[in-house]
Symmetry: C2
Subunit: 103 residues, 2 copies
DNA sequence: CTGATACTGAACCATCTGGTTCAGTATTGC
DNA sequence: GCAATACTGAACCAGATGGTTCAGTATCAG
């Protein structure tokens, strides 16, 4: 039925790292290059590239190489899958909570 | 302003592991003991206890020790924080997307 | 052409993570 | 009281993860 599992898997793994979440927030303000993303973290370009690659695999970020620059941006609607998953759980939690009152 | 960061941090870390997400789904159907949770994963009780402890620290699950049994259950509304965080990002992504069309 | 810029790939490293086993402790049922 | 049950804490381990450096390659500016 719901078969987005593989991507959701990658997405949650990608979101686990605070640096990557900060990158996502940064990209929320508009696209950026690897250098621009690496600079505020005082991180090597290689290091940032690895994070971006993970985010790409999780389909949260797309990139496009223009000349010698790689431009990174958020994928629209990328968070819907996991957002849905979480809300479903929240609904369950509320049901369980209510059940507890009437045993 | 928004200062739920520390918890959100733990929550995302907790959600990164597929076993833990499965445990959350399982708890969505109602409370369970450590043994009950460990069994379907063919995992040691110690192993499962570690997962539960993480979920407790992330404030996604609460537990209560009754006699020699530990009962685990979902925390209602626990996912609101991260769900909100994700939706905000999604809104940003859509703005960025629209901006791209009109440079 | 030349040098600087922007990235990339390979190799490496320390630390974190998800799991285990083993030896307890506390409860429960007979 | 005794044995089985349910968990817990400590110690350990293999592999993943987040980072680095170094030696390239490709592009751009002068």
């Amino acid at each position: 039925m719901v078969q987005y599992q593989a991507t959701v898997d990658h997405a949650f793994a990608a979101l686990a790292d605070p640096t990557r979440r900060a990158v996502l927030e940064r990209l929320g303000a508009g696209s950026a290059t690897i250098s621009e993303l690496a600079e505020p973290f005082a991180m090597s370009l290689t290091g940032m590239r690895k994070h971006i690659r993970l985010l790409e695999e999780a389909e949260l970020v797309t990139t496009e190489k223009v000349g010698r620059v790689r431009r990174c941006m958020l994928v629209p609607y990328a968070f819907e899958g996991i957002s849905t998953w979480l809300q479903r759980l929240d609904r369950f939690a509320q049901v369980v909570e209510r059940t507890k009152g009437a045993p």
